[in-house]
Structures are given as C-alpha cells and as structure tokens.
Assembly symmetry: D2
Homo-oligomer: 445 residues x 4
Amino acid sequence: MTTSAHAPFSPLGRLQALLDVEVALAEALADAGVVPAASAAPIRRAARAGRYDLAALAAEAAEAGNPVIPLVRHLTRLVAAEDATAAGHVHWGATSQDVMDTALVLQLRRELGAIVATLERAADAAARLADRHAATPMAGRTWLQQATPTTFGAKAAVWMQGLDRARIRLEAALDGARDIQFGGATGTLSALGDAGPTVARALAARLGLRVPDVAWHTERSRVADVACALGLTCGTLGKIARDVALLSQTEVAEVAEPSAPGRGGSSSMPHKRNPVASARALAAAVRAPGLVATMLAAMPQEHERALGGWQAEWETVPALVAIAAESAAAMADTLAELHVDEARMRANLDAAGGMARAEGLVMALAPHLGRAEAARVVEETCRGAATAARPLLDAAVHAPAIRAHLDEAAVAAALDPAALTTTARHIVRRALEQRRRDGKGSDHG
Amino acid sequence: MTTSAHAPFSPLGRLQALLDVEVALAEALADAGVVPAASAAPIRRAARAGRYDLAALAAEAAEAGNPVIPLVRHLTRLVAAEDATAAGHVHWGATSQDVMDTALVLQLRRELGAIVATLERAADAAARLADRHAATPMAGRTWLQQATPTTFGAKAAVWMQGLDRARIRLEAALDGARDIQFGGATGTLSALGDAGPTVARALAARLGLRVPDVAWHTERSRVADVACALGLTCGTLGKIARDVALLSQTEVAEVAEPSAPGRGGSSSMPHKRNPVASARALAAAVRAPGLVATMLAAMPQEHERALGGWQAEWETVPALVAIAAESAAAMADTLAELHVDEARMRANLDAAGGMARAEGLVMALAPHLGRAEAARVVEETCRGAATAARPLLDAAVHAPAIRAHLDEAAVAAALDPAALTTTARHIVRRALEQRRRDGKGSDHG
Amino acid sequence: MTTSAHAPFSPLGRLQALLDVEVALAEALADAGVVPAASAAPIRRAARAGRYDLAALAAEAAEAGNPVIPLVRHLTRLVAAEDATAAGHVHWGATSQDVMDTALVLQLRRELGAIVATLERAADAAARLADRHAATPMAGRTWLQQATPTTFGAKAAVWMQGLDRARIRLEAALDGARDIQFGGATGTLSALGDAGPTVARALAARLGLRVPDVAWHTERSRVADVACALGLTCGTLGKIARDVALLSQTEVAEVAEPSAPGRGGSSSMPHKRNPVASARALAAAVRAPGLVATMLAAMPQEHERALGGWQAEWETVPALVAIAAESAAAMADTLAELHVDEARMRANLDAAGGMARAEGLVMALAPHLGRAEAARVVEETCRGAATAARPLLDAAVHAPAIRAHLDEAAVAAALDPAALTTTARHIVRRALEQRRRDGKGSDHG
Amino acid sequence: MTTSAHAPFSPLGRLQALLDVEVALAEALADAGVVPAASAAPIRRAARAGRYDLAALAAEAAEAGNPVIPLVRHLTRLVAAEDATAAGHVHWGATSQDVMDTALVLQLRRELGAIVATLERAADAAARLADRHAATPMAGRTWLQQATPTTFGAKAAVWMQGLDRARIRLEAALDGARDIQFGGATGTLSALGDAGPTVARALAARLGLRVPDVAWHTERSRVADVACALGLTCGTLGKIARDVALLSQTEVAEVAEPSAPGRGGSSSMPHKRNPVASARALAAAVRAPGLVATMLAAMPQEHERALGGWQAEWETVPALVAIAAESAAAMADTLAELHVDEARMRANLDAAGGMARAEGLVMALAPHLGRAEAARVVEETCRGAATAARPLLDAAVHAPAIRAHLDEAAVAAALDPAALTTTARHIVRRALEQRRRDGKGSDHG
C-alpha cells in the first residue's frame, strides 16, 4: 500500500530500482568509453522516481508488454530536455529484461537482507527460550495426543534450529542470485560490438553484483531458488506458528502471544486474545507453496526470452517476499516476548493421569520381559487405570505383572518426568553450544 | 512397477531401506552396549525384504497409521523364531518415524546421487554442443519471434549453465539432508536413558550419516529443500526440453531428438518422429511444481510429531525423485545425440528477409541519429521492406535516411550475422573455460 | 499396489480399460459397417488384460511415448493369431489419445461413482450427529480460542453441508466429463471418411457416454474440472478431519475416532490412540492442492495434441482419485462411529470461568449502554474475573456497571449456554429439514 | 493500482464493499425491528469509503488481525458524531468475518459477471472464426509436429467450445456462492436472540443474495469453487494463447495478434511485433494453478472460525480474479481481430512435401494390406521421399507397393487436404449449430 521509493516492491520502489539500473548502465557505458562521460550525469538527474506519472506508466506498460519500454521513452524525454546527446545514450545496448531482472536483484538484496536479519532475531529469541526452559517439563505431543514428556526448551531448540537453517538457506539463495542481467535482445550483447563484456563488468562493479557467465534471461534458477528459500522460510515459520497457536488454545494455555492494545481483539467477544501473529505466519505458510509452485512452473522459458513465464514472475516474487517478511517479523516479535506458563505445562502433563509417561515403564520392564511383552503389560495397566480413572503411577504400583520386576521406587522413577527428560536437557545444551560455536547467539548463555 | 529391492522407491526397495535402518540400529545399540552384541546378527538375518509379505504389510500399515508398526511386529516374530532375546531388542528406543525418515535419507542419497551423475552427463553434452557450435549462427528468438541472431553454441551454453547450477543445487540439498533421524517418541531419546546420544552417534556412523543437533521429526526443511532442488532440476530440464521441442517443430526443424526403433512413432501417422524425450521432461516440469508445493505445504507440522503433514510426504518425495530422474535421463540422452541442422538454422535466419538483424542497423545509425531516431528510421525501413517483400539489406541500401550516414559496405556489415555474434562466441568460450576451471568438462576442448 | 483388473487405476485395471475401449471401437466400427461384423469378436477375445505382459508393455510405452502404441501392436498380434482380417481392423481410425482419454472417462465413472456414494454415507453420518446433538452445548472456537457457545449438532451440520456440497460438485464434474474422446490424429476423424460421426455415435452408445461437439484432446476442462471437484472434496474432508483431530486432543478430549485392534497404536507408547483416519484425510488435503494445480497447469496444451501437458495428467489423476477415495472412506467411517463425550464438552465450556459466554453479556447490556460501551464494560469485568480467577457469572453479578442495568437473574440468563444456543438448534433443525426435502437423509429423523 | 471505489478489489473498492454490507445489515436490523428504523440512515451516510483514511485503516488492521475491527471503530465514530443511538447499532450481531465474506460475495458477483461477459465475447469471436474458416485447410499439429490436416475453423471451434465451457462453469460457481455470510461469532447468531434468522433473511433480501442453511465461516467450498472456476478459465484461455503464440512464430506466421500503436514493440528491435496479449494470457495460466492450490490448501479451517486459512484467501482471490479478467480481455480482443493468413497455412501444409497427409494413404491402403502393413509401406515411402526431398505424392505414385492397389487418381485423392478434412468441416458446422441451439452466437450464420 505504501508508495515510498524506499519500499522495494511498492510501485514507486520498483520504479526507482529500474531507474537505478538505467543510471548504473549509463555510468558503465561511460566507464567503458562507449558513451561520453558527460552523458551519465543528465541521466542520473532524470532518474528520480518522483518525477514520473505512475498511473500513465502502468497503462502504457500494459500495452507495450513491460514497464521498461514506456519508462525508457519517458526517461529519454526528460534527459532530452536537458541534454540531447545524453538522451541518445539512454538504455544503450540493453533490453528491457536486462533492466527489470537487474532491478529485481537489487530489490531482493535489500529485502531479503532484512528478512535474514529478522530470522536471526527470531532464532536468538528461540535460543533464549531454549536456554531458559531447557529443563521445564511439558507434554511431548504426537498426532496431537500427549506422548512422552519433553521440555519446553527442547521444543524451542527445534524452532531455533529451523530458523537458523532457513536463514542459512536464504543467504545461500541470495548469494546465488547476485548476478546482473545484461545480454541485450538475445543475450549476445550484440548491440555493443566488442565493448559488451567491458560494459558488463563496469555495470556489475557499479551495482556491487557479479557478471554471470551467460545471460539468464530464460535460465531462471536464480530467482526460482530465491523463491524456494522464501517458501522454506514460510514453512519453517509456519511450523512455529502452528505450535504456538496449539499451545495457546484455551484448553492448553501453556503459552500466549504477547498482547498489545488493539491487538487480536474481537468485535463481539471482549474476553478474547487472538493469536494474530501466528495467524499471519500460518496464512503465509498456506500461501507460499502456491507462489513457489508458480515460480517453478514458470521456469521452462522459451528460447532467448520467454512468452508468459517471465511475466508470471512479476507479481509472484514480490508477494512471496512480502509474506515471508511479514511472517518473520510476526514470529520474531512473538518469540521475543512469548508468555510461558510453566505451571500449566506441568498441570497438563499430570492431567491425563500420567499416561504420557507410560513409555518409561515399558523401557524399565523391557529388560525383564522383552519389549513386546513389556508393552503389552503396560498397555493393559494403562487401560485399567483409564477405566478406573486413577493415575498410572497408582495403577502400576499395584499391578502384580509390573511389581514382579520393579519395586515401588523403580516404578516411580520410571514415571518421573525429570528422569524422562535428561537427554532432552542434554540435547538442548548441545544445540545451544553448537550455535555459539557457529558464531550465533553468544549473548544468551 | 518394478519390485526389486535395489529400486529405492519400489515397494520392495522401500521395505529394504526400513529394514536396513532397523539392522543399523540393532548394531548401534550393540556398539553402545545397550543390548548384547549377539542380538544384532539375528536381526540382520531376519531383515531381508524378500522374506515379508508386501500386501499384508500394506494392509496392516493402513490400519496402524504407518508401515513400521506392522513391520516391527513381523520382524520381531522372525527374529524370535531364531533368538528370543534378540527379538526383545528389535527397534529398541526408536519411534516409527525415526526409521522411516532415516530410511528416506538412505534412499535419497542413492537416488539423488544418480540424478547428480546424469545431470553432469547432460551438462557435458551441452558443453560439447556449445563448443562445437560456438560460431554456428541461428536466429535468437524472443516472445517466439525471431530477434537478433545468436549462435547455437550460445544457446547450448545457457543449457549447460542451467544443468551445472541444478546439479550443484541438488548436491547442496543432499548434503544438507545427510542426518539420521533418531529421537524416539518425542525427540528426547527418553527410552534409552543416558545412552541415547551414544547410540545416535553409532547409528550415524554405521550409516555414513551425521547426527543432527535436534530431532527433525517436525522440522522438515531437509526434505523440503531436497524437494525444492528436484523442482529446480525439473524446471531447468523443462527449459531445455521446451527449446528442443520448439526447434524440432516441422516448420523450424533446426534440431531433432535422436531416433531409435519404436521411439516416438505414431499409430496413425508413419511419417512422424515425436520428440518423446522432450515431452517427458516437459511433463516432469508440469508436475514438479505441484509436488514441491505439497512438500512446502506439509512443513507446518504439529508439536513433536505431526498429524497429516508428514504422511503427505510419503508418496510425494518418491514421485518427485522419479520424474526428476526420468527427465534428467531423457535430456541427457537427447543432448548427447542431438541432431543439429546448421543449414536450416542459417536458412531460417535468412527467411524473414533478414529482419532479425535490424538491431545491427539501429546500433550503426545510433551514433549519428541518436538511438530513438535510429530506431524510428529502421522501423520504417523494415516496414517498407516487409510490404515490398524484399530483404532488409536491399531496402536499407536504398533508404536515403540510412545512406546519409552509412555507405553500402557499412550497411552490409551492420546486418552480417557473424559480426552480430562476435560477443556470443566470446561468451561461449568464456563459459566453457570457466567450467573447465571448475573442474568439469575437461574432455571437450 | 493391487493389480486386479477391477481396481481401476491399478496397472491391470488401466490396461483393461484401454482394452475395453478397443473392443467397443471394434464393435462400433462393425455397427457402422466400416469393418465386417466378424472382426469384433476376435478382438474382444484378445482383449483380456491378463493375457498381456505388463512389464514389457511398460518398457515399450516409455520408448513409444504412450502405452497404446505397444498395446495395439500386441493386441493386433493376438488377434492375428486367430483372424488375420480382424487384426487389420484393430484400433481403426483412432489415435492413441482417443483410447487413453476414453478409458480414463470409463475409469473415472467407476471410481468417482464410488466416492460419491461414500460422501453420501459420510453426510448421512454427519446428519445423524447433527440430529442427535442439536442441543448438546459445547464451546464454539475461533482462532483456536473458546468463543461463544455452540452445539455439537451445529458443528456436525456444517460438516454435513460441506459433504453434501462436495458430493453435488463431484456429480456435476462427472456428468460434464461423460464424453468419449474420438477424433483420430488431429480431431478430424479423417481416417474414417464420411463414416466418422456414425462410428463416434456407435462408440458412445456402446460405452454409455456422449459424443462431444468437438474433440477435447487439448481442451482439458473436463478432466481438470474433475480434478477440481476432487480437490474440493479433499478440502472439505480435511476441514472435518482437522476439527476431529483438534477435538480429540488429550487436553480437549470431546470426541474420539472409533478404535479397532491394530489401529492407531504407537510402537513405544501403549497408552496412545492416534487419530489415524483424520491423519489420512489431512494428508489428502495437503496433497490435493498440488495435484489439482498440476492439472490446471497442464491445460494450455499445444495445437491438436500436446507435448508434455497431457502426459503430466497420467499419474496425477489416479493419485487424486486415490487420496480422495481414501479420505472419504476414512471420514465416513469416523463420522459413523465417532465417540462423543458430552460431559467433557460441557466441562470444557465451563472450565475457563465461562468467559466464552461474555458475548451474551455484551448483547444484554448493549441496549442500555450502546454496543461499544457494553463491550468495554464486559471486557473490564472479564479481565477482573481472570485476574481473580473467579467465574465470569460471579464477577458480573458483583460489577456495579453491569448491575446498574441488569439484575442477577438477567445476568445469569445472559450467560446461560442454552439460551445462547437457541438459534443454533433452530439452524440445525432447518438444515436437516432442507436436506430431507432434497431427498437425502430421510432415515434419520 | 487504481483506487476507485468502483474497482472491486482496489483498496477503496474493498472498503466500500465492507461498508455496503454494514449498511445493509443496519437496514436489515431495522427491517426486523431489532434496531429503530432511524438508525439506518446515519449509518448509510457515514458509509462512504472516501471518508476513511486507507493507510490508517491498513495499519490498524494489521494489529487487530482483520480490517473490519478498525473499520467498525471508525464507522461508529463517524455515526456517533451524527447520532449516538445509531452508533450503538453499528455492526450489531455480526462478526468481522460475516462482513468480509459477504462483501467478498458482492465483489465476486460484480467482477465475475464481467468476466462471464468477456468470455462470451471471446467465444462469439471464436465462433466467427470457426464459421469463416470451417474449410480453410491447415496443418494439424501433434507433439509440435505437423500431423494430418485440419481446418482453421476446426481449431477455432475447439477454442469456442473451451470458452463456452469455462463461462458455464464460472456461472455455476458464481451461483453456488450467492449466499450471505451471517452467523455472528461462532455461526449461531447468538447475539440476536430469536431475531437472528429474520435479520438474516432481510440482509439477504437487501443484497440480492440467499441465506445459507448454515454459516460457511469455515466451510469454504463456495469461494474455493469460484477459485477453481477461475483456474479453469485461465487454463482454457492459456490453451488458446499458446496456440496463437505458436501460430504467430516467425517460421509459422499463420496468424498474428492485432497490432496497435505502442503495442508489443521492442526497445531494441524495431521490426518486432510481440504477441503481448498471448503472453498475458499465458502468464495468467502459469499463475492461476498456484493461486487455486492456495485456496484449496486453505480449506481445512479450524472449528467455527479459522486461524490462518481464511487469512490466506484475502489476497489470493483478488489476484485470481485480476488475472482471469485480464486474460479474458486479452484473448477476447485477440480473437475478435486476429489476422489469419490462409495462404501461409496452405504453404506450410505443403512445405514438408505433404508428409502430413500420409495418413490418408495408410487408410486408402489398409483395406488392401491391413492397417499394419499399410502403415509399414507408407512409412517406407515417406522415408524415401524425405531422403530424396521429393513430395510424397510424387513418391507414392511411383511406389510399386502402393500402385499395386491404388491408381494415380486414387493416390492423389488420398492425399488431398480437402478430402481429408470433410469431417472437420462437418464437425465445425455441427458445433456451431449446437451453439445456436443453446442460445449463443445467433449472429454469426
């Protein structure tokens, strides 16, 4: 909605990025001696997005097939008003797609850089939760059923790891896409005679990018890979959001998103605090796969420049960037100030009569009975306990088939959440240490 | 369709991979002293896929929710027939998903390794085409219209680059997914007491894999990233297939897929040679995006183990692997023996009266007229030539507005394909050199 | 996995469907007098799937580009062994795609008919739940938070309506796809001279299908629409499965999937009952969108017969049919025997101190205070009650700002779930009546 | 980009639709006697989108979780300035989603109505092409290879049929989605006491919509089905665009998109006319599948109102509507003024030495040799003709194996495109007649 030239994918931001490339091209042409040095300055002066009529450009772009064709016309006109010679050097040797793709790379670098930073902030917050709650017991849950106990720190460590992986993946994709597009009509730079490669190097240097071996007009793995990395980012954040949302349920209530005035309210139910950040991240996770699929589906582009596939990317990449940025910010904020209710975690763990700890009993009995028979005996005991609505500890202590092998203390030990989560605590510590060794998260020891 | 235990995603191949993990687990448990060393051998002996009833396992798996639950039952029974103690140690400390995910990693390593090799073979073939045809002029085509000339080598270099990028991307994803899954019910290894981490290290060592910092039961970025890399692979191959198919059209006929008996025939049209390899690769490129989307959509998995998301992966990954393998093989074979008709390339380039070289004229005139006016003059000349159905060279030589600035030789030079593709040849050479420096393609110089 | 010729998308089932079309074609040709009547019988006798080598056909199909080309060869050979003349009439006038598409239509009619019946069974079960629990109060939940009360019947009525809509949608798509494919190489029936349309009518009559106005070789809206309907079916079932899974959570425990021996167990946690049916339906809902996207992406098929797009459909449609069938069966079984715990529903409703009924209080105060002020007052009261951990009723009765307008009985009435769900009960009754009027569900009054 | 309140999915258009629903609700509440009749007018007066600060609303919406929460606040404030009582009746009994979903239905009715009309215009244009060119021979093409001849009218009839089917499908989806959303917080209308159903009927009547049996807050088949219909529309248009683009290739040149000043030009190649309308339709066909997949993936929405799934729809539906509208307009314009080059069609048909007509020869020989042997003989003749670069007619006339059964006239007749397209012409006539009987296309006889 914003139209600031600094918001990369706003209409104005997009326009400015295109103009930035035209300026860099003019300067590169001058660097290479293809056009007089004096031609660059007038082009630079004319290349301020605020000087253009966005609505008119959009209308002409629809007719022309892309926005650069009318933009070059208008830019040339503005330059001509100041310097007729320079006007003749606008857009020299480039094709529209050179400018659009290079502008896209510039925009991606800015936007994805910000997402990378947000992911790091989110991972730091998850690391702090992992550290603080390494030994906070809670129900592990599988198939949405309580299973063996874990600790909240172990859960947070999984989030942390996912966030670190998503960040690393995004950085790799971004680095892989650090190439200018510059090939002219069919990738051969034919319009520049022998000067093409020199201009290309100058252009890349001006923009802080690399020169690719060949033009990538129809070899779209760079942008498609960025899309994949954004899709993975949204999926990773979606997993965290789903956990937060499930843990926030009225009936679970183990965590809550930070509240704020005007946040997550309901127009008819004043008591409610909706997990709006998680909803945003989950919505992004629902949308990202289709958008990534679009980018992959657009890859088989025809010959030297495509018909339809490239155009399909134009709105898809910005949409993916926007939802990934939004999702990352939502979850970074959420993790940074997540309310954690340790007492409720413990209460939920105890609520089902301790059934979730049955595994401990199976393992304690297995050396005596074999695993299968141990499982059978414990299952029977669980069933009996459930029917009688009494805690598993109580039922187990009174079960002859169990007591034949374990005394009361051994039964209690087998069902103790602290004992069952020793390794969980160890895993969390190891993961945090590893993260520090990787140069992240030094601040939360 | 095949049911060989060596075909990774055949029913038998999948079963064997699960059994391989159970064997490695038994050995790792023995390595760590958790179970007696003697327990491993009977488990290994019972773990041959051929000994199981696939149909019965499939039916029980549907009821149980996953294939490992009944498999452990049957495996235990087979082991018990030989060694009751060992039977008690089957699947010790693991959860079904530990076995399924680790088996998946084993299968991916085998299958994707093969795809990587095929992609390299395809890239080598493309490199040979690029080398051989670096200076073979052909029409560059944009929007499916002839544009400025390029060379067939330049086109092949784009294919080569795409294939190399896809391969590198796939290797990276494969490396990122080189981790065992081993966490027990909720990722805490609680069933193994303090021995968990030791067993995990032994298991990873046995299988040539790594131990991850935390369990990735519901942090699916590893497999989702593999899916993305396969999607990019299919997209890259699809681009090449689309080019080959378009160049093979009856009316273009610049290349043809290698023919073979029984290949690409028609049941009613004996004259036809259908580009069946390209069709296969294009079909893969149509299917891959949806399959990748499924993997990304499955990422937000609940808590410690998921409900639905994980299950959605089961058929999706094998389908993606299969189409990527098929597509890679189809295009590697095609590129290795592609028929290239240089004469037809030249004939097509000349057919439209040389209009595709109009850019050369614009560029030659631009220093005199400015770019915009040069374009206007050339456009007018093109239109006149088209109306009169005479070659552009002829029309240009007789156009006063052009001859005011260029003599006849200059006009001819401006329209010469060889001149227009100097940089194309240079780009191809540079790309091939770069590839050799990267340690690929030393054999085609 | 099954290879019965009666399982439509098993390898054998697919083969038989192709053969069925070849037989019907031979008979139609005889009906139209294009081939002698005596040619049909030998073709029919040779057209039993069991007589063919599936593996050999698959290998030859890969080379040829489609399975019909080798099949016609083998079929012709079998017929020739009996009757050389009849052998000359095999596949007369048809192209491979005629046979494959028509066979697909036959298979879809059989399989989707079964899914329609399953959906009706599921809707009937939902209707029974709606009827039985029209007045069973439970927490309505929005954003995974308890909101105003509803009844379990109202929830079941939403499920019922979704199932009925999915069924109707599927029937419509199936009816829209009831056309033979019969056009020969390019849709013109050119190989049959003037007899083409007559043969087409006879073929359709033989198969109980319609003759389309034009061939739909590359106009894929019929199959794509079937795919969409299957996608909607999976989405609808996924919504129900998600609700069932959430309501089955240990901490909610308001419903449970029916249990059965070997069903939903855990290899390490004997106490668990996993909602495996819901997991299956949710997995289908995760997979369907990508598969539908594939079918839509495959639509822009080239000219008279496509290159890649059509081939992309081959595995996609059967996968969609399979998951839709599986999901429908899973949820029909689940709804038919769902365990419903009314007491737990009521307990959960009361657990949060009755906060979920706050809306009733807002509405009761609104005529006195205006809606906004009423909401403000109630929000404050809720917050106070939550802080003091006392029931909302209690807090409200003691809140002067409330009691200024409502007496104790009015406050109690405003918070009574029965009162708050009067309209819910009315809605359920109306929906059930409407369903009966539509001729469904007469048996559950 | 436009912000007119009449552009349904512009920011202003969306806002106005929300306000329109609030107004209709106020009037319905008055109709039902729930609020005083005098409350409706002040609400109506305050409900003009132009009076609101779009940027502020957007920012507050992000915090609140949806745009209606802040909108109701602002609307209430504006009403209050005029009439405090009326302000208390704003949004009475509704939940945010009631307003958003009903507004969406209103917007869809307007926008999809326009697309339906455009599709009809496109189908009419295709029908005119079918009629005019029913007997214009051209190469039928399969696998992008010339196959047997067809007529351009037959191709246009396939387009026409696809367009008619897409339109009918869209109308059906639109009709299926003609329901208000009105259920209050959890679909029970609890806030309105007994008056709920009456208000619902009044609201529906005011808006020209229906009352659904139950609320569809989380039963999303209505909007998902609209999305599917739009996806099918884009796919159908994409098929036509692909055909047009392929036929427009420089080397084929059988059709051309209508040209216009500023349309489809190139910044560096003045001779080019790019098929920009086809590119737009193909881009839409690439994007639609992913967007439809998003809508299907969003279907499994939780309980009474969802967390993430619903939010994922918000930008997806407008994007789908926009590309479908754009694609339909592009192809309607293209078909209405398509340049058709009959001479080039004939020339291309003859260019390959008439090989594409080989089927006619097979069919003529089949009664004498059997189909398989006939095919073998013709294939050999084709190969000989190709090698010798002589026309098939010439080669066939001199082939003893052919002349043993057919005299020279019979060979010529077998290879005559007119003879080979008799049925094509018949099919076109029949399809046009059928369309007239269906009440469409009466104007082109």
